[in-house]
Chain length 157, copies 2
């Protein structure tokens, strides 16, 4: 059962998301960061995820495209600031449909009894940008991604 | 005379800095982003600024070292997310003395009567990180950097 928590306190500029996965930390880290595995969990269930590039190293860059049933494409890209495998990485993130609105995400994985605790902190350039992301249905999308990631990591152990 | 403004509202995660420069926008942009010119304004007056690398393009990376009178070195590095010359660029920033604390800065330049208006928005992973940066004397350092930048751009026009 998912224990997903998405916290966005009023007036702040961040969204903090936590979830526990039933798999060892190195498996979760690999599933999150291996470009061959990303299409299996990233994005909504009904869209196809295409990894255009994902150079997963400190100072590498990435671009992912979501393609819906009508063939409409939605691009996302960013830069990876730091990688400390298998504990954490920090990256920037921009939806190409809203150029100039950039957020920075830090993903952390901790070993806990029986699995791995994931914490993502996304920080936005303004409160308005953050609230816009919430209004766009980010919570539903993140929930679907996290459920697909849980299915993936279970299949890998 | 400097019109530097540094705003950090309570409970928020950002610092917004503005200043007007008495020079055309393209000159200010070049002074801010040309690795050959960076040592002339970046950092404190009493330190020497050494550009280790500064690959100024979208998805490039940078590292700058400040060296004080005793030869002590302080490293800073990050990744450039997007460049829209001469209007704006977004980058990450990490002081190597506090690894794991990353901020994201967006720098914007606007043409105004008689010069250029600069706005920098730095967003931090937490309110505590932001307040720590303020407590470290960031305002003094930024003021010195901006004054040196003003001297530089005046010499370039």
């Amino acid at each position: 059962m998912s224990d997903l928590s998405v916290v966005a306190e009023p007036g702040r500029q961040d969204i903090v998301m936590t979830r526990t996965f039933d798999a060892p930390r190195d498996v979760v880290f690999r599933a999150m960061t291996d470009p061959a595995l990303l299409p299996k969990w990233w994005g909504l269930r009904e869209t196809e995820t295409v990894v255009d590039r994902f150079d997963f190293r400190s100072q590498g860059n990435w671009r992912i495209v979501e393609r819906d049933a009508d063939g409409q494409e939605y691009g996302f890209h960013g830069v990876i600031h730091d990688v400390s495998a298998p504990e954490s990485y920090t990256q920037t993130f921009e939806f190409e449909g809203m150029p100039g609105h950039v957020l920075m995400e830090t993903h952390r994985l901790e070993e806990v009894d029986g699995g791995t605790r994931y914490t993502s902190t996304a920080v936005f350039q303004s409160v308005e940008d953050r609230d816009g992301m919430l209004a766009s249905g980010m919570e539903t999308g993140a929930g679907q991604s996290m459920d697909q990631l849980e299915e993936l990591v279970r299949s890998l152990v």
